[in-house]
Subunit: 257 residues, 2 copies
Amino acid sequence: MSQQPSAARARFDRSTWVGVDPSEDEQRRPPLTRPRIVRTALRLADDRGLVALTMRALASELEVSPMALYNHVRDKDELVDLMVDLMLGEVDCSASQGDWAAQLRALVCSYHQVLSAHRGLARIYSVGVRLGPHGLLIMERTLGLLLRAGFSAPDAANAFYALYTYTVGFHQMGRIATLDAPTPDSGTDDQLPRPMAKYGSALPPEQIPSVVAVGAHLDGVRRKGGFEYGLDALLTGLRVKLAGDHDGVPSRPHSSR
Amino acid sequence: MSQQPSAARARFDRSTWVGVDPSEDEQRRPPLTRPRIVRTALRLADDRGLVALTMRALASELEVSPMALYNHVRDKDELVDLMVDLMLGEVDCSASQGDWAAQLRALVCSYHQVLSAHRGLARIYSVGVRLGPHGLLIMERTLGLLLRAGFSAPDAANAFYALYTYTVGFHQMGRIATLDAPTPDSGTDDQLPRPMAKYGSALPPEQIPSVVAVGAHLDGVRRKGGFEYGLDALLTGLRVKLAGDHDGVPSRPHSSR
DNA sequence: ACCTGAACACCGTTCAAGT
DNA sequence: ACCTGAACACCGTTCAAGT
């Protein structure tokens, strides 16, 4: 009762079966390598969330002492960098069809899908962006498309950063809610007729008529084509900017300065 | 030597001077209130960064036991929510001149400036967005401008989320760097002629020609008008989208679906 | 009602020691 | 070279106790 049953059982199995077939035991515990650590860490973050990604938890997942990890990885920051680069390897950087904007759209959408598949990691992505080879390749491809489209080097840097910022930011923004906890009594689904119980807490409804009017649609942004909406607006803006530069016409909405 | 000198000194001062002039001691230690806790926490995060914002550090800054805070604040998450709303109170929500896009631009730029003034808090902002009264007011104003401009409720939600995502994301994105630590030997300034020592580490230069070509401008994005570049592109895209809706012409760059 | 000290269940990481 | 256990310097938070 007061002992840890799983630890006791593990010890028992080990001492019982070791020596009978050592190679089988070896099979069950592959050697600790850097790629295996990073792969396991990414899976752990995917399955149990960012908060569960702990050096200690990762070590126990690998059936190894916490300190064993430090022989293959400098510290947790480096581990996260490696995880991010492993994830970014899934982004499809191959050439696609259409003009520069369409190709840019395909690339960024692939990026978006990969981040969606790894929500836990996507959260931490921003804090200190350290690019590995896969990240650099995405950057290279994006900047190449922009430069070939006709953007100047400074504008390409700005456009890249804007696309990048929007995409990563989209995944870090959580569901919008007010200080009051969301009511968990809604048994049916999301499209409830009166969703303002959530938004009305911090301010009386008569002070936020627009929020009340839009309300029901706000939660759906992340599910529906919310990402593509902003992305297309951004791409349209870039297209107008590029055309304006070639015509010598400023594209600023209001050149108040 | 082995004792903590500051703790010993504090205890000495307290026991020495208490009773001589209690009101003076009272002045030096104003009562612990919720607003004072939140204000001090925001200042602490601004001055010493997010990582220094610790319940224990905050308590010692307020010259109080760590547990005293829990009489005024449920937990650290709630404290952060309150700090965010205090910060958002600095955003200028007053009406401005120009059409809807210009007013939107002024509002978002004020938002951007406030986040710039509180870089530490801006980092954590995304994780769990819980809006207080000030946040709700910004949301109300933004949605109101979009609705009055002619956006439908779903489109207003999407546009709001895009602007919001971009702005907050901009502040969470750190400086772009590669896995190798940046070389701290550059004594002069940022506009160095060979900035590729930073980007060339993870991949050989011949594989990333566009990165090499743009390189020098990438670090400047955050300083220069990098934020405004993307914001204006976004606003232009929204303007085109709105005009397209009124004409019945789809504004998607490529309606491949 | 408000504050305190001690303690709990965690972290990441250093260190000295094992093989 | 690789792994381990013990320990250090932290966290946020609970609890029982003080006033």
